[in-house]
Symmetry: C2
Subunit: 342 residues, 2 copies
């Protein structure tokens, strides 16, 4: 069986670590794994198929002979990575926001718009975590019932700000419980036992950058450039799964059971319990989906004020479908047919 040289950039970060795990878990045909990170990670290793593979620093020529570069570096370093990847003739699947909105760069959630990969020019963008988790549910809904309007309130986890934010949330929680002061360096708010407007740049129109990303990216993934979509982004003290309240208006009036049937049969989506609730009357939670692949849907109901509006509660692992899993799924679609995978 053919195999490939795969570089993972940001291999010591929360998303990079998850990419390495998922490559192994899904038996991606890796001939050689090259874990790449910044100078700070020199001397560290990553575990892959029982081996400890040394981290390599980013340097000119690092991608020579590499087939796929799966990157979760920040936007700043990403432009440099892209040049190196292009020079080496490799393909870049990029988690940063650097290229997502460039018209010639496909922005892909494989279950929804895998066809967009066809015309790539060696860079494919992986969406914002909320956009990916939302798209896998909204894609089939839009295809079947046409979304007329969409409002989303998010409940976002620490993992979206990386390993350091997750550690900080834990350390701050311990400090608070012990009555000790704690100074955050990653998140500018008290995060333990608190929630707050997403801490990305405030724009002139009153949105924060995180919200604007989700709006633009959903429009691109769903291929509806003028989709009326609005997002309100909030971080909650949860470790690694996002949840979203979806308030959506359709062009028609499907029954709740029709919606559950559709989503239950859609790839990448699972319906929680029996029609959104389990026997104990409990719904899906972020903790319940941590370390799993499907986006979980619960408590779909009709908005009692409107014939065409519905409320939906979804939750998905931010590091998996929100980032690393989607990245590896994109790489799988790039492989020649029959080479891949689980």
């Amino acid at each position: 069986m053919e195999s490939y040289r795969v570089a993972v950039v940001g291999a010591t970060g929360a998303v990079g670590q998850e990419i390495v795990s998922i490559l192994e878990e899904r038996a991606f045909p890796v001939g050689q794994l090259i874990p790449v990170a910044s100078e700070r990670s020199r001397g560290r290793t990553v575990s892959f198929r029982g081996e400890e593979i040394p981290i390599e620093p980013l340097r000119p020529g690092i991608f020579e002979g590499v087939d796929y570069v799966l990157s979760s570096a920040g936007s700043f370093v990403t432009a440099q990575i892209a040049q190196e990847v292009a020079a080496a003739g490799a393909i870049l699947v990029d988690n940063s926001s650097q290229f997502r909105m460039e018209p010639e760069v496909p922005l892909v959630v494989p279950e929804v718009n895998g066809h967009a990969l066809r015309n790539h020019r060696n860079i494919i963008a992986n969406p914002n975590c909320n956009a990916a988790i939302l798209a896998v549910v909204l894609g089939p809904l839009h295809r079947e019932y046409t979304i007329r309007n969409l409002f989303v309130a998010t409940y976002q986890a620490a993992s979206g700000a990386g390993n350091r934010a997750m550690t900080e949330l834990q350390d701050e929680t311990v400090a608070l419980l012990q009555g000790r002061p704690h100074r955050n360096t990653v998140i500018p708010y008290q995060y333990a036992f608190n929630c707050f407007l997403h801490n990305t740049e405030l724009m002139d129109n009153g949105y924060v950058a995180e919200e604007w990303k989700v709006i633009n990216e959903l429009r691109k993934i769903l291929e509806v450039p003028d989709l009326p979509v609005n997002v309100h982004a909030v971080r909650v003290p949860v470790m690694r799964s996002h949840a979203e309240v979806i308030h959506v208006e359709f062009g028609s009036s499907p029954s709740v059971n029709e919606l559950y049937d559709l989503l239950g049969n859609s790839p990448g989506v699972a319906v929680f319990g029996s029609n959104g609730w389990d026997a104990a009357g409990l719904g899906p939670t972020p903790v319940g989906v941590a370390n799993t692949n499907d986006v979980m849907v619960g408590r779909i109901r009709r908005d009692h004020t409107s014939e065409h509006h519905y409320d939906i509660w979804i939750t998905g692992d931010q590091l998996r479908k929100g980032a690393a899993l989607n990245t590896v799924q994109i790489a799988e679609m790039l492989l020649p047919v029959s080479t891949c995978c689980v």
Copy 2:
């Protein structure tokens, strides 16, 4: 100065304790305080104006000679309390949901519909915590701009489920951080580092009881029986303040500054920082408003998809404006003019 005999029922609970503090803090003209609780609290005391006052068990005749009964008992005991209060000729301000929707019982947020107190028949209902926190903001907005449609996603704290839920969240968090198992007895989910659909009874229409309360109560307080309002209730691991994402359609198109001006001049409401953000670009948080009285408003913005829609983020102390403060404010309005208060 005239003074009154005031009984506080549920005096050892989270809301009852807060009522006692607020009576003292606001110099309510209490001649005698009678703290009442269940048999389980026998032998305990509450602190009031530097004295330790013994808890009295609920018993026939307990309210003889009492002027005001401020109650935060569960709905089950409340019917019995109401009979005792009526027999004693006292006035009941009740925090349970027992009487809220009875047509002859005023349901009051003093800043919004204090006039509804005029025709009370010795029972006044205090609203659900979300309804009170929302109403103090929505009241002036509706008066000025007419709410055409309203969708609310909640971020609700543990205090809404009482002292035991707050302790449980803390204990469970410690256990999780130490890698020990923990069995919850109050909240049926993992609550630490998690969020979940509000754990009240699921209704046939797909709503949970908590949501339906907020819908009905907002309609009654705002005096718009057919107000198109929809609520999605979620608990987050926060101790004592609720936050709410408000997605609202008005009959007109005020500017964001007009909205901040109106709310900044409305009683019971404060605008965070300079127009919703502070100098560091941070917004209001539940932790920031804990133990304060005003509902804090932040990041009002126009929905970019619609001329008449706006997004608003508010947060208020669940135990204060959401319960105890509003209860004491109602009692203050019942006092003869000039008797009261801070």
